[in-house]
């Protein structure tokens, strides 16, 4: 089991935070373009799923899988979008993403008066705490970590 990378978007589509642990394929496009593409894809999937759904949805889109990876998605009512890519053997990551929101983002960004809410996160504290939290997860295998 591996966790590849993590994206955090605000409701306007700005990428607040990106980090990666083990990512083999680096894209040819710039990070900025990649974030836009990722946000666009998530936005489209959300509208796609809500229109295709035969019944009314509560949480909406949760995850998708391809042959090599699984993308997990969690959105707060305030529009913050947490996205994590893992390998296929990982089950639900909703609790983990919720935990990142409630005990890392809220604690170290929202409660930090020096952090501007709609600017990319530069806080070293948040960065370190997130890294520490993810590395301690059972889904994170140390074998592949760089």
């Amino acid at each position: 089991m591996t966790i590849f990378n993590f994206y955090l978007f605000d409701r306007h589509g700005t990428c607040l935070y990106y980090t990666e642990w083990s990512r083999k394929k680096q894209l040819t496009m710039s990070k900025d373009e990649e974030f836009k593409l990722m946000y666009g894809m998530i936005f489209s999937i959300k509208s796609f799923a809500s229109r295709l759904s035969p019944t009314d949805m509560k949480e909406g889109f949760l995850n998708f899988t391809t042959s090599k990876y699984k993308l997990h998605f969690f959105e707060t009512p305030s529009g913050l979008k947490f996205i994590m890519n893992t390998d296929l053997s990982v089950g639900g990551m909703k609790d983990v993403l919720h935990q990142i929101f409630s005990s890392l983002y809220v604690e170290y960004i929202v409660k930090n008066p020096l952090c501007d809410m709609d600017q990319p996160i530069t806080s070293e504290l948040f960065k370190n705490k997130l890294d520490e939290y993810v590395r301690a997860l059972p889904q994170f295998s140390t074998k592949v970590a760089s």
Binding site: L37, F48, L52, P54, T55, D56, T66, S67, K68, D87
Partner: protein, 218 residues
């Protein structure tokens, strides 16, 4: 019933076949209202939909399906009266309105199919791992979409219950039906919508079998 619908998308991303399960019921709520209306309605995509004020099973996004038993057609009633005008007029109250999730029109389905086609490509482009396929499964809390792409680029898509396992077997079976009854039909031109009676009936037979006997028996 665990399979809701089936879509077949050609390699260019256009919808060539769709099938909806006959026992798929979209929820509808009928209620009598007095003036003024507690719900906030707006016109969206040529439909009158609820913008705010969920109550009694009426949800945001539900469309007006009928008023006083007269079915709606887009933003007009069947007798060509404008729904928003009727609802704005106090003399028409008390009024009985039927709300429900709007059915997908053929145009919307075609749009959703091409949307899936591009999402499929972006999904593989944004991969953290090399050499990945496109999206194979997409899960939400109400349904799970399974997609099987053949070597020639045709996509078979099944929308099913999130708990339903072994959809892959049904996807393979669909491919078989497609190969036998669409591709071998001399009147079928490749990449065009499938209009073949034999294909229709065989696909329906597979779906009924899945429905009655379960997936393990196909």
């Amino acid at each position: 019933m665990t399979i809701y619908s089936v879509y077949i998308i050609n390699k260019a991303g256009s919808l060539i076949y769709h099938y909806d399960s006959p026992n798929l019921s979209r929820p509808a709520v009928e209620k009598t209202f007095s003036y003024p209306l507690e719900l906030v309605l707006k016109v969206f995509d040529e439909k009158v939909v609820v913008a705010f004020g969920e109550r009694d099973g009426i949800k945001v996004g539900h469309a007006v399906l009928g008023i006083n038993g007269i079915p709606a057609e887009g933003r007009l009633l069947q007798d060509k009266r404008d729904i928003m005008e009727i609802l704005a007029n106090e003399e028409n109250y008390p009024i009985n309105i039927k709300f429900g999730k709007p059915n997908l029109t053929v145009n919307e389905r075609i749009m959703l199919a091409s949307m899936l086609h591009s999402l499929f490509a972006i999904g593989s482009q944004l991969s953290p791992e090399p050499q990945t396929s496109g999206i194979q499964a997409l899960e939400t809390d109400t349904f799970k979409l399974h997609c099987h792409q053949t070597m020639t680029g045709v996509k078979f898509v099944i929308i099913a219950d999130p708990k339903q396992a072994n959809i892959d077997a049904v996807l393979k079976k669909l491919y078989e039906v497609y190969a036998d009854y669409a591709l071998k039909n001399p009147f079928y031109s490749l990449d065009m919508p499938i209009r073949a009676e034999l294909f229709d009936s065989n696909l329906q037979a597979v779906m009924e079998q899945v429905d009655k006997l379960g997936i393990s028996n196909i």
